[in-house]
């Protein structure tokens, strides 16, 4: 009932009772076209500069970026980071190639698959894309990669392929749509650096409710 009333009020406010055919067409066309608005020039760069910009912007947002030359280096890099941080447990997503990589982690590390629980110290997931414009990661939910992994643990470790770095958000939407043409995954997370708050006297503190540290393993 309120729906009809609200829509009626909007229509009257616009000086008409029903939307006109022309209006319907304009809306349908805009929704179908998915046209791009103005896009900042600074992230529309050739590959090498684009990747360099991603690293620069991610670091500016206080993410840690660890550059690796191959996927094979990931297990030891992850193990090193955890050891230096004094953490001996890890909860991981389960999509490829994570199960294989995890087999190469030291046995002293307690590794678990699945959702994160309150109190977990570190998680490891894959990132779908990196966006150079602001050093942003794009992740999305699926059975193999539960969303809690991105938010509950104290430290979020993410693997990103260099070749998956795009320049601007618009390119990320195109790739996401190509993968999910009919309906988006339940949640899409754009993550730029670790959690923070300036709610106390406008002084920035890291590690509010989400991860205190965000570590990107950037794989060539």
């Amino acid at each position: 009932m309120s729906k009809a009333e609200i829509l009626g009020r909007i229509g009257r406010g616009l000086g008409r009772i029903e939307p006109t055919a022309a209006e319907r067409e304009r809306v349908a066309a805009r929704l179908a076209a998915k046209a791009r608005n103005a896009i900042p020039a600074r992230a529309q760069l050739p590959e090498a500069e684009r990747q360099a910009l991603f690293i620069e912007m991610a670091r500016e947002a206080a993410a840690e970026v660890i550059e690796l030359s191959s996927l094979q280096q990931v297990p030891s890099a992850v193990a090193n980071w955890l050891q230096q941080t004094g953490i001996d447990e890890l909860v991981v997503a389960s999509d490829n190639p994570l199960p294989e990589l995890c087999k190469q982690l030291p046995e002293t590390l307690r590794v678990r698959q699945g959702v994160a629980q309150a109190g977990d110290l570190a998680s490891l997931t894959l990132s779908f894309l990196g966006i150079a414009e602001t050093g942003t990661l794009m992740l999305y939910s699926r059975p193999e990669s539960p969303t809690t992994l991105n938010f509950l643990p104290d430290n979020h470790l993410v693997i990103l392929q260099r070749s998956d770095i795009v320049g601007v958000y618009e390119e990320a939407w195109s790739q996401l749509r190509a993968r999910y043409p009919d309906s988006l995954p339940r949640t899409v997370n754009m993550i730029t650096g670790p959690s923070r708050s300036a709610d106390i006297e406008q002084k920035l503190q890291m590690g509010a409710h989400g991860p205190r540290r965000l570590v990107i393993f950037l794989v060539a």
Binding site: S2, T134, S183
Partner: protein, 472 residues
């Protein structure tokens, strides 16, 4: 929430003398404007994005019913629910009903100004459902029994000392003056609440018609925990938040963080589209969107339509000299600063809020920073006019305006009176050149001195100059 907008003058007087508040407000002036300016300097396209955002919002509002219907269809297709609520009361009842159907006892909440607008917390509490605010600033305020004084930095009116005392009283831990320690305490306290909550309520910065998604933008990650952990996620938002596509949302996201906090991008920009999918191991089983009108559809037919472009970035209040002097609580309701002076009369009535659109020097700073180019001073003038037409303007002011308009329409009389006035003021000022006491204008001279006029009117000086020029 109790409305104190009619007491605006008293509120402001008290605020100006509040030493703690004045110290805290210093953080607004030194922080946000500089960060915004620095971020914009790095994005040469910023002004172009503002133009496009203004035009796109206008297009959306001209087709608002169609985009809302498209959004709803997509939410339903993804297995979610949409509830249309015309009034605050209807929205509160709808939300309570969803909570009760789930036998919810506690509800975690992400930051949402619309839930402030509909006074949701008090209503839930009165009906046996405990709301827990999870944004750090909102959490501090909930412990103190206060409301936000700013739309993106809710606790900006407080100092470290205040937070320290509040946490000491509630957390039963040793008192700390270290913000990092205080935040850690809040993190630990809220962790258990996140996990235990039956329902999570968030707002939405935008709704995407193309995909049926809502998006929240946060730095803390509290909104994400709020909407991921409980079995039910309720998005409480308002009808003007809809945008056509992901590309269109992107245009606004590029403007929002830079205008608000001066960040390149907010830490978490999270899209939610329906409930968890088959095989998903976490995420809510139910996804509800509560679409609140609460007076917005009535704004379309008037000048106020332009206000519907607002993306709640807070740049206008961050740059407002009046807000900077008196803080958000003085405005007496949910929305403070210039955007509040336009919205509040619409939502609680001009009868109660008439003083707000008058509390402006019309310096124009708000309009100059608004990312969607809302002519805020013009809209405040709309309310001043409305106030005058409804005979709400105080008698003395009406009388004064009447006299002025009589004189102003008679140039000879006007010139003569200004000549006399100018000379009288000049003589009142004495040698000092400044007037420290003026009959009928103590409101001005109590707080500061008034500069004296030169003794000659503008017209006299103009004629003298013209003569001098002709003879030279």
């Amino acid at each position: 929430m109790q409305i104190t907008s009619p007491d605006f003058k008293d509120n402001a007087r008290i605020a100006l003398q509040d030493v703690g508040l004045q110290k805290a407000l210093g953080n607004v002036k030194t922080g946000f404007p500089h960060k915004r300016a620095a971020a914009i300097a790095r994005l040469p396209e910023f002004e172009q994005l503002r133009d496009e955002a203004r035009d796109l919002k206008n297009h959306i509002i001209e087709h608002l019913d169609l985009y809302l219907e498209a959004f709803e269809a997509k939410v339903l297709e993804n297995g979610g629910h949409v509830h249309w609520c015309r009034t605050a009361d209807e929205a509160r009842q709808t939300i309570l009903k969803i909570c009760q159907d789930k036998q919810a006892r506690t509800v975690t909440k992400g930051k949402s100004m619309v839930t402030e607008e509909i006074n949701l917390n008090e209503y839930l509490e009165a009906n046996g459902v405990t709301p827990v605010e999870t944004d750090l600033g909102e959490y501090i305020l909930q412990l103190r029994g206060e409301h936000p004084s700013h739309i993106i930095a809710p606790a900006i009116h407080l100092n470290l000392e205040d937070v320290s005392e509040t946490f000491h009283a509630h957390h039963h831990k040793p008192k700390s003056m270290d913000p990092a320690v205080l935040m850690q305490e809040a993190r630990e306290e809220l962790r258990t609440k996140f996990v235990a909550a039956d329902v999570g309520i968030t707002g939405a910065n935008f709704l995407v018609a193309e995909t049926g998604s809502s998006i929240i933008v946060t730095n803390e990650g509290n909104g994400d925990l709020t909407q991921t952990l409980p079995k039910t996620h309720i998005v409480v938002t308002s009808i003007e938040k809809v945008v056509p596509t992901l590309e269109d949302m992107t245009l606004f996201l590029r403007l929002l963080a830079r205008s608000a906090t001066g960040q390149e991008f907010t830490v978490y920009n999270t899209l939610s589209t329906g409930p968890r999918r088959p095989g998903d191991q976490d995420g809510p089983e139910d996804y509800h969107v509560v679409l609140v009108d609460n007076g917005r559809s009535d704004m379309i037919a008037s000048e106020l339509r332009e206000m519907l472009r607002c993306i709640r970035c807070a740049a206008c209040m961050n740059h407002c000299p009046v807000y900077g002097a008196i803080g958000g609580h003085s405005y007496g309701w949910v929305y403070p600063g210039p955007m509040g002076s336009v919205l509040t009369p619409q939502m609680i009535g001009i009868e109660q809020a008439a003083l707000l659109p008058n509390a402006s020097t019309f310096c124009g700073k708000c309009e100059s920073v608004c990312p969607v180019r809302i002519p805020l001073p013009k809209l405040m003038r709309h309310w001043r006019r409305d106030e005058f037409e409804k005979h709400l303007t105080p008698g003395a002011a009406r009388w004064g305006l009447g006299v002025w308009s009589f004189v102003a329409r008679r140039p000879a009389l006007y010139r003569q009176l200004t000549r006399i006035g100018s000379r009288v003021l000049r003589s009142l000022a004495g040698k000092k050149g400044r007037i420290s006491k003026l009959p009928l204008a103590s409101g001005w001279t109590d707080g500061r001195e008034m500069p004296a006029p030169s003794g000659k009117t503008f017209m006299q000086q103009w004629q003298e100059q013209q003569k001098a020029r002709q003879s030279s």
